[in-house]
Symmetry: C3
Subunit: 218 residues, 3 copies
């Protein structure tokens, strides 16, 4: 698996960071698949361009690895669809770990996990298939993160946090220890979560602006 060339699906901002990482890892990048050809993007320089998902199928599924480089935003399903579609067609997705991430050798990353620059994953944590641990996010020890999660930049998950599938934890949000978060939950940017979310689809908005100060003694 280590030496197979990679084909990158997506050509937006997340794709740029992934290609940057893949270049640092000296991977051979045989193509970029996106509906629109990216322009003026030095990161993508010299990579052959393909316009359609059908082009992917012209590559032998045993000879290449795919990179799901479509970004993850709440409510958008394109990323997950790409993952399912090409898995069903027999392709494998490469697990990408930035050389500038700090990943414990006692953690486990499933297929297609993407660990971006400066992210931290501590001992005994498990990251599910296709999940993004984005730049500078902190995954403490003993976390179990589901599939197709997006742990956004700057998020901090304390120890023993569990998430279901397709959970989105927004930029800079915090989750204290021992919290579970149901499948399909969105935690908004900047939110701090200190209780378990038992049912899917609950939404927490971010903290913005002036808040009154309240002092409490436990």
């Amino acid at each position: 698996m280590l030496n197979k060339p990679v084909l990158v699906i997506g050509a937006g901002g997340h794709a740029a960071v992934l290609v940057d990482i893949l270049r640092q890892l000296n991977r051979t990048i045989i193509g970029l698949v996106a509906r629109e050809k990216p322009k003026d993007n030095l990161v993508f320089d010299g990579i052959p361009y393909y316009a359609s998902d059908d082009d992917v199928l012209t590559f032998d599924k045993n000879e290449i690895l795919l990179v799901n480089a479509i970004g993850s935003l709440p409510g958008r399903t394109a990323r997950t669809k790409v993952q399912q579609q090409f898995k069903n067609a027999g392709y494998q997705f490469i697990t990408v770990v930035s050389p500038h991430a700090i990943v414990s050798q006692y953690s486990r990353l499933a297929e297609g996990v993407q660990v971006m620059p400066g992210a931290i994953i501590n001992a005994n944590s498990i990251i599910g298939e296709g999940t993004i641990i984005n730049s500078g996010a902190i995954i403490e020890h003993d976390c179990i993160i589901g599939a197709d999660n997006h742990i956004a930049p700057g998020v901090t998950l304390s120890g023993f946090v569990k998430t279901g599938d397709r959970v989105h934890i927004g930029t800079g949000a915090n989750v204290i220890q021992n919290i579970s978060i149901a499948t399909d939950t969105l935690i908004a940017a900047g939110a701090t979560l200190n209780r378990t979310i038992e049912k899917p689809d609950q939404v927490f908005y971010p903290a913005i602006g002036l808040l009154t100060s309240k002092r409490n003694t436990l």
Copy 2:
């Protein structure tokens, strides 16, 4: 001190991260002391197990170093008690710094300080005995952190922050520059502190959920 074997007290999540670090540092780990034997934990593989604090005393205090691997949570005193008990018995605690932490050579770490992966400690900061600077926490320049503090994962302390002893700053909390925080104070996860806490035991709850946006002109 550099070559003495270490005996780890505690076998929970924090212990796992510490043992992971100690292995990276090629320290010899002669035992794990915990009331319950940890199971299915690859990090602890091959380390002799001891059930009781009394077992610690069978080791020559001049020939080993202790690792206080008991985690720190608000209201729990087990960690501090272990530190005091074995200090009184003449043992020394090793200062543990992850090779993936960024620690200025112009900072000072007291005995038994633990600097976890991705933590940052800048010039002229001083960290008190037994304090944990947890994963990804940022200690800016000229901070003076007391003994037995827990600076939780993802916390940011700006320059010239001072804390007393046994201060707990929760996951992802922020403290602006020049703030002092009294002994035994708990700053909740996600809180942002912009004033000095003069008396102990004040408690700030985290920010959770939807907050109204208020715009202000200074």
Copy 3:
């Protein structure tokens, strides 16, 4: 430019971190310029001291580089004035990047940018002249940051964030993707910003204390 000696203007906390970095980079530091002589500061040990801005002018502008080591705080203009004054006099400011920062080779840093320990700058981001990306701050892909900004420690900017000049984003604040922030805006410590700031001088206060939890479905 790489081998010219540097002259450091400022001798406070930010200066200490910069000198620490410059020493790690093996730069020759020919002087420290500050109204008051710093005392008991090991970082500055052995660096010649100069009391006045006029002393700067005694150095040949073609033979040295300046370091603007004056810290940035909301409402204070000293840092920007130093930059302008000596630029006008023909001096150049060195761009300082901590060896412990993670900076994409596909990002661009203007003259005098300072990237502090543990900061992350991803692909296709552009940082304007004289701006500080402080310790542990995260600048995601495709951000365009103006001149003389202070992106404080622990800040997270998601992808495609744009800022004007002299923007201050306080400790630990978060900005979601695609947000623009007008010139001279102050985002307070700990705030989370999820909308564009179109006019200058708007101010968001930090979140502090106990907030009620509100659950919402999008």
